[in-house]
């Protein structure tokens, strides 16, 4: 017996020594160094489903930090909550020659809450540690294990998600009992899965990538999903905190969500039902009825994030929101749905990936972790209206650029459906300014500007509109690049119709707007809408060019010139037409009036990467035109 133990120990030690890798920094291939501040030497992610309510993640990372810029990458942070428990963490530090210099353990880590300012409660925390090493380069090798009590969703595997990090080797193994079936999706993967059976008789699915160069960030790049190597795994049958189910496509997933997480949440009191009926009395058009109820909901509620228990996926009870007047996106959508139901209007609870950068779920791969927000859909005949329920001020049926132009999953009693939210076109996203100023001989301008904002530009001024009047003046002064801007009068008007419009009117004067140099007056005809920066050039561009949101800015400014002066120099009339945008500018003189016209249109879409240099040149021309002065000269 004793002998056996010794032998076992020896075997373990021997294996340990044999598995020892060489982390000498000089062994890193030179090809991996450009733009890299860190190199993943070897990363192994092992996910093992032991039973329906028991998943283990075992992650081992060896990463070389080449310089101080990668200190963030060396900072280890592991998120956890009540249902995702960290079992162990340990790590070693090697110097540049691959010699071990120190080690660290779980007791070196600290916990921090992940909740944000706007959240009332969030269970998620991060356990983190920043290795204190000041001799670069160095290598840290650490491993940790997490136990998750559910099998509804698994963390995606991304071979390389940080800019500035190259990868020597990274692998992912998913193992489970043969009766646990999975679906998987390989995205931008150079290789295919290897399926095998391990010693425990489990099915294993393994992916591996080698020698990935560091990503250099490029402006106007598409979303990272378009180019990162990634594997998504989703279960067929699963268990999630006491609920079980199965799905293999969007239809089934939507049905499961509806039946298990939503159906029982929509009850509201008879008093509220009666109030909704009374509120919409006399309105026959269901869309107008819905608008009335939506506006009621907006005036009554406000957004507060609360993530408790399965709150991550399940809304609060509608009745609760009715009492408390607050909720997160799920709760407010569910509540609105309940209010609408009171007057027999059907609606769909739609899950979506929100954000300015448009992202859609994969059409052919259903999984829970592709969403982070909820909106409501009203499926009227020949008219599908979407509602954002977390804002007290957004117009009915308007999504702005938070959830526009992308697929969402509607969770309905008959199953899930992928629907597309409205696209706001470059022509529609209009900012139109009409201004007229009188310029005097001291360089002062006096006059009025009227600006209309439509489409995704509708809410450009929302941050000012909700401020107190004294603060509004200050914000407007900061908004415009006009120095010494004295605002005599201003007003905002918001038409919250189906095509919402914000109108801003400002009466102002600005001394020293024009600069006097001898007998000349020099001023910028573009008073208020200059582009501030030109996109940087990119040599050897890697990614295709992507413009997320199109828009049109249209400005017409009339200056009444001081008597006795005439135009000496003015910007040349220019017209540029490119696939991704149009620009035209002109300054014409009629008697003592100078009319400046500028129109800039940028068209959203994907473009060949070769066009990027033209985009830079395009913006350069706009910038030059915007900073071109008009020079007036006295006398003849």
């Amino acid at each position: 017996m004793k002998l056996f133990l010794t032998l076992l120990l020896f075997l373990v030690l021997y294996k340990g020594a044999g598995a020892q890798e060489n982390y000498d920094v000089s062994l890193i291939s030179k090809d991996l160094l450009p733009y890299a501040s860190a190199v993943v030497r070897n990363k192994q992610v092992n996910v093992e489903v032991k039973s329906l309510d028991n998943t283990y993640y075992h992650i081992k990372t060896a990463i070389t930090i080449l310089n101080k810029n990668a200190d963030d990458v060396a900072h280890i942070g592991i998120w956890f909550d009540k249902n995702r428990v960290i079992k162990s963490i340990k790590g070693l530090v090697y110097n540049q020659f691959g010699k071990q210099v120190s080690k660290f353990s779980e007791s070196d880590f600290e916990d921090q809450n992940l909740g944000t300012q706007s959240s009332l409660f969030d269970d998620a925390k991060i356990r983190h540690f920043n290795p204190a090493i000041t001799d670069y380069p160095y290598t840290i090798v650490y491993e940790y294990e997490i136990k998750s009590k559910q099998t509804l969703f698994f963390d995606d595997w991304e071979a390389n998600d940080d800019a500035g990090v190259a990868v020597e080797k990274s692998s992912y193994t998913f193992s489970c009992k043969p009766d646990f079936k999975i679906r998987y999706k390989e995205i931008n993967m150079p290789g295919k899965v290897v399926i095998a059976t391990n010693k425990q008789g489990e099915d294993t699915y393994t992916w591996e990538v080698n020698n990935l160069k560091a990503i250099k960030e490029e402006p106007y790049s598409p979303s990272a999903d378009k180019y990162l190597s990634k594997v998504k795994v989703s279960p067929v049958k699963f268990q999630y905190l006491g609920t079980s189910g199965s799905f293999s496509n969007w239809n089934e997933m939507g049905k499961w969500i509806n039946d298990n997480l939503l159906a029982s949440r929509r009850t509201i009191s008879p008093v509220t039902v009666a109030h909704m009926k009374q509120l919409t009395e006399g309105i026959t058009d269901p869309k107008l009825k819905a608008k009335k109820i939506y506006e009621y909901m907006q005036s009554k509620t406000h957004y507060i994030s609360v993530q408790v228990g399965i709150g991550g996926f399940q809304p609060f009870l509608a009745d609760d929101v009715d009492q408390q007047n607050y909720g997160d996106c799920k709760a407010l959508v569910n509540y609105t749905q309940a209010l609408l139901k009171a007057v027999d209007i059907d609606s769909y609870y739609c899950i979506v990936k929100a954000g300015r950068l448009k992202k859609s779920p994969l059409v052919d791969f259903a999984s829970m972790n592709q969403f982070d927000h909820v909106i409501l859909c009203l499926p009227f005949k020949n008219d599908t209206t979407f509602l954002e329920c977390t804002s007290q001020k957004i117009p009915f049926g308007f999504l702005s650029d938070f959830t526009d132009d992308r697929y969402v999953l509607a969770c309905t009693p008959t199953g899930g459906k992928l629907l597309h939210t409205p696209k706001y076109t470059a022509q529609y996203n209009l900012q139109q300014c009409r201004a007229s100023f009188v310029l005097d001989t001291t360089g002062k301008i006096t006059g009025q500007m009227n600006t209309e904002f439509k489409g995704t530009q509708y809410d450009n001024r929302d941050y000012i509109i909700e401020e107190a009047p004294a603060e509004q003046v200050k914000s407007l002064q900061k908004e415009y690049p006009i120095n010494n801007m004295y605002i005599e009068k201003f007003a905002f008007q918001q038409d919250k119709g189906l095509q919402p419009v914000t109108t801003e009117t400002i009466k102002l004067e600005a001394p020293d707007y024009g600069s006097i140099n001898g007998n000349k007056i020099i001023f910028l005809p573009n008073t208020g809408n200059r582009i501030e920066r030109i996109p940087r050039e990119v040599r050897n561009r890697h990614f295709e060019m992507y413009i997320n949101t199109g828009y049109t800015d249209d400005d017409e400014i009339t200056f009444t010139l001081p008597a006795g002066y005439h135009v000496d120099m003015r910007p040349e009339a220019t017209t540029i037409n490119k696939p991704f945008g149009k620009f035209s500018v002109s300054a014409t003189v009629m008697g003592n009036q100078l009319k400046y016209k500028r129109k800039l249109q940028v068209i959203d879409g994907y473009y060949n990467k070769e066009l990027y240099a033209e985009l830079v040149a395009f913006y350069q021309s706009v910038w030059e035109s915007d900073s071109s002065n008009i020079t007036l000269i006295k006398g003849n």
């Binding site: 733009y35 000041t134 009492q323 408390q324 801007m485 140099n517 350069q620 002065n629």
Partner: protein, 657 residues
Amino acid sequence: MKKILLIIISVLGVQHFTMAQAAWPTVNTDDLKAKRYDKDTSAHAVYLNEFGVSRIEMGSDDRIHLNYDYRARIKIYDPKGLSNGTIEIPIHNGDDNSEEVTDITGITYYTDDNGLMQSATLDPKKIFTVRDYKYQSTMKFALPALRPGCIIEFSYRLSSPYWDNFRKWNFQDDIPKVRSEYQVHIPGFWNFNASLRGSLKLSHTESEIERECFSSRGSKCDCSFIKYSMNDIPAFITEDYMTAPKNFLSAIYFELVEFTNPYTGARTKVTKEWSDVDRQLRINEDFGSQLKRKELMKDRIGAVIAGKTDTLEKAQAIYAYLQKWFKWNDYIGIYSSDGIKKAYENHTGSVPDINLTLAAALGAAGINADAVLLSTREHGNVNTLYPVLSDFNYVVIKTVIGNKTYLLDATDPLLAFGLLPRNCLNDKGRVISLTKPSYWIDLNAMQKTSESRSLDLTLLDNGKLKGTITNYYSGYKAYEERRAIKKFNSIDEFVENLDEKLPKIKIINSKIGNLDSLNLPLAETYEIEIDAYDNMNHNRLAFNPFLWDKITNNPFKLAERDYPVDWGVPSDTRLILTMHLPAGYTIETPPQVVAFKMPNNGGMFATSFEPMENGFTFSNITRLSKAVYSSEEYPYLKELFNKIILTEKSDMMFKKK
């Protein structure tokens, strides 16, 4: 700007009287109907009433507690005011004991859909506690049934074991208050200094003696009972380029002066004179004792200063060595947490760990080094009337070498010797020496920043400008530029990025000098080519001499300010452009020549122009001589920028002969 008013706590024998505040009027429908606050019609919400009372008393656990009862009633006018209905109570957790919040109540009065007044009470199940990090939790709740027009009222008790840290009271907040009152009950065993900060005056204050209000295990004493109240308190509005709002907010602070042990009668002077504090700090295990540990550092710095004879050289070598040795763990403070030995061995530590190590190391090399306590900019200004140790949250090191004073902070590896992080440039610091009495030092005085740029350009026949640009940076400008360069893995990657950011400018060659010699100015030289004109078939060419770096937007747009502009450091910026024109061209319009000076040498902007054979020299200088500009000086500062912009806006004109 800072206004500190001492309130003498009068300890006269006055009759004991009831301590509760008069009952608040009941909320009625008129209150709910009110659409705006007449005294500030732009308020989103207003405190109708706010009341707090702090007492030092015995807890049921037979320990001394500081109990704080808080109650507020807030009227919410519009949707933006709804955020005032989410309440957060920070709770400090110690290693052994923690603060505790109990007796939370909350109620919302509102008008329902039928126009009737209703109320909804807070559900205790909807109160959440979140552990933010080791030493802090936050209790949060949102009042129910909020809607514009409603009135909320909530109250709680916070019981703290930290009786030495008597609760301050903020009279002013970012929404206005109709009335705010604070009452304190302080047993005679304790003696606190109270100080009122901010520009607002108390509306009312009164004090009484409460007979035998405190008793513990047979010891009894009387209490001072004091009420402070303010009415019609305006909202506090922050401005750009200002230091901590705390410096200007109206609030009352308490600092423990003396404490008598109720059981032994032993008196402990906590804060009285700086001489007491000096003594206390010198023997403090986490401060003075660490400062003294020269012996510990002697062996470790031997090699660092080996062969060096000049004191400054030695000090710089030690400083650079420790800058590289340590990785700062992001914690600040004035007391060493683990002792400097452990910090040194682990290569990591807090601000006091690292800087006290620096002092010990300098001491080991025979170089004088004192600690300087200071308060960072966001932490607010310190009380200079008497010692308030809790005002300080950062420690740096002062050394005098050859009559020159240097302030040092070794936590950032890119700071030059003698440069403090910008965040430390906040009014005054207190120099604590192991041997001499402590004294104040002005933190802004010895820091500065400057930048000079010279361009030598030739306009070629093909419309391109070719030449060199040389930038010299020192002080903070050099620090910031070094940081920017070090963000890249190599200088080549930095230059490539710079080149890509300037589409019209091609960088042909570059040289960056003194990147790692932190005590010398950073020098950048770029050989450049600019696509200035498509061709030279123009009779007249417009040219703007500020082609590299031009200000077009005035950072100061407001007509006036209430609080000073505080940049922390004076600055000096210069530009010299030498331009060579092709033979066929002359200057039709020269650039503007201006000279603008702020009163009392506060700052200046001046340009000068010198024509020369086939070209010209143009130079300008912008100087902001002060670190802090008062609100009275603000209009001149604004005008200075206005002049700069007007000058930079105007183009020169070249024409064909």
